[in-house]
Symmetry: C2
Subunit: 345 residues, 2 copies
């Protein structure tokens, strides 16, 4: 096993059914390429030009309420709409079908200048509450088969407004990743009678080397098959298929786990760390889905510093994703950081 | 079929076995997010600090020859190495194996200031010759099962040196994308007795609406299931499994196709258009692979201008890739452009 710390190897992701190429020796390579802008940390608590701040008017003329915690509204530029015709088209190798759905925006806080990493755990717990509510409301509709909750954090991740917010895209059909994870989890469950991610978590807890944080309800770890340099997963300690199955103390424990991982991320390069994160959980197609274990993925692009990211390009797009440091090295670095935010106090 | 020009729908990619979400109405959305640096077009023909220019010394002390067309050398920071131990490891859900291979860099021209879009077709044909040579040499080795030829063009695509060059990563195992394309092409071939991509090309040529260019040997088109805003594919008109099966006039025709598509790309936003491109072709595992049709994919990130790209983030990473304009709209725009480079003459 020791050779897998120094030599190129590939690891299998049993959840996605794909390989990742690991090239540990490559982290020594100098970087002369594109350098990103660092995040600008100085922001007002309220920005009169921000279309997400409380009381402001949005581009379509709607006025935001004076919300005090979270605020959810339908996306003004939704990628999915409720009225998309359901018809399907097939002509030889050309195949398409209408896809309907609902896209919402969720403001995490009225404070323009905060991020999850700088919010109090109790306030993050209000965000968790809002996610659960949305999952239940949207998931109950007969025309919604999956509720994808996610956040694009930072301009580097295509986020066009620094105001802390996430998105929800709920669709009739399963998105690709959810369909794949349903397939892999189902196959494992049928064969072993236990959920794949519960078995995986038991292994990781026995080994310990990729774990960053744990409380009574949740574990944060760098998966054995991580693709992004500092990718993590948040997993529940008991078999929770979807958000609404959490007890109220588990909601706070999830909020604490999200707080701890985002604080460490910010501390890693002393910057407001960009990422895409989101939850994968039980499809809302009415089936029991006992194979499913709800979890969150964090996909952060930074590799070496606040301004040098990993590019998922040529070989990654046309071949296999490739990473430079091992998941164990990433976990050790994140574990070694304080979980008090570098801007706090 | 007409509703698929205005309403959200999904299209199936039979080569990758995956869906893409198309949201045509969404191209009207304003962009307030990250704006990229435009490419700097003014460069010397020879840069004494460039480690790819003829006659210069590389970081490891090796001196480049005074090459006049192409120049191939082993990557000084290879992600794959020949000596990686082949052992494999399995412990429950943790699964890894050694991966060996060879990474090479191929300079397309001694001229530091050119790109494929600004090179003469005859000079691009010399690059095609070098690719064929590499495919044959590396593919003949018993320890190489696949030869991935690609180019990352532009800083936005993680390219750290503007000198025109591409890469070759040859590995023992099939990369994910090649494994998937082998599977889908094999299934189709077994069922229909004709290669998937030959059937697809026949359909596209009958319809015409997604085709940008064709000569006697090759067709350039925007695939029906394109993910990137201006994604294209280059396909041979006859059943060619891998590069070395091209006749000498076909090599020149391929060079011409590459020239035409990259010129249109540059003309689209009057910039040196960034992309990742690469060839998928027959694995070098010794099998016949009659299901395989060699082709090139171009994955360019720009969406609206030289500085606004499409971000493949939250929903794309955690759900399904999503695009804003239809492939037909993209094809019409590219077709409407001149195929004389905007900087020429
Ligand atoms: O090898 P290069 O050009 O230094 O690196 C570039 O291409 C590689 C192959 O697609 C990627 O893994 C790197 O992230 C990218 O920066
Ligand atoms: O919806 P937004 O924040 O405007 O847009 C952002 O997130 C979307 C969902 O991941 C992506 O499709 C866009 O490319 C990205 O810029």
């Amino acid at each position: 096993m020791n050779t897998f710390t120094d030599h190129p190897h590939r690891r299998y992701n049993p959840l996605a059914g794909e390989w990742v190429l690991v090239s540990p020796h490559r982290s020594k390579r100098p970087w002369q390429g594109q350098v990103e802008d660092a995040e600008v940390p100085d922001m007002p608590a309220h920005d009169p030009d921000c279309y997400l701040c409380a009381g402001n008017t949005r581009i379509n003329g709607a006025k935001n309420p004076d919300y005090t915690h979270t605020f959810v509204f339908d996306n003004d530029f939704a990628a999915l709409t409720e009225d998309a015709p359901a018809e399907s088209f097939r002509d030889g190798l050309l195949m398409a079908e209408g896809e309907s759905g609902i896209c919402r925006v969720i403001c995490f806080s009225p404070r323009h200048d905060l991020t999850l990493a700088r919010m109090a755990v109790d306030d993050i717990a209000r965000v968790v509450d809002a996610w659960v509510e949305q999952y239940l409301e949207l998931g109950a509709r007969p025309d919604i088969g999956y509720v994808q909750i996610f956040e694009n954090r930072g301009a580097m991740m295509g986020c066009s407004n620094p105001h802390p917010h996430g998105q929800i895209w709920a669709s009739r059909n399963l998105p690709n990743a959810a369909a794949k994870e349903t397939e892999t989890q189902r196959a494992y469950y049928d064969q072993h009678g236990t959920p794949l991610l519960m078995a995986y978590l038991a292994q990781e807890r026995a080994l310990g080397e990729r774990i960053l944080f744990e409380n009574d309800g949740f574990v944060v770890l760098v998966p054995y098959w991580a693709v992004w340099p500092f990718e993590t997963m948040v997993l529940p300690k008991r078999h929770i298929r979807s958000m609404e199955e959490m007890e109220s103390d588990e909601r706070v424990q999830l909020a604490e786990a999200l707080s701890k991982v985002t604080i460490r991320y910010d501390n890693l390069f002393a910057t407001s760390f960009p990422y895409s994160m989101g939850f994968h959980q039980r499809p809302t197609d009415g089936a029991a889905h006992d194979e499913w274990v709800m979890h969150a993925h964090f996909y952060p692009p930074l590799l070496r510093s606040a301004t040098v990211k990993k590019f998922m390009v040529g070989f990654e797009l046309l071949g296999t994703p490739q990473r430079d440091l091992t998941p164990e090295q990433a976990a050790a670095r994140l574990r070694g950081l304080s979980d008090i935010h570098y801007l706090a106090g």
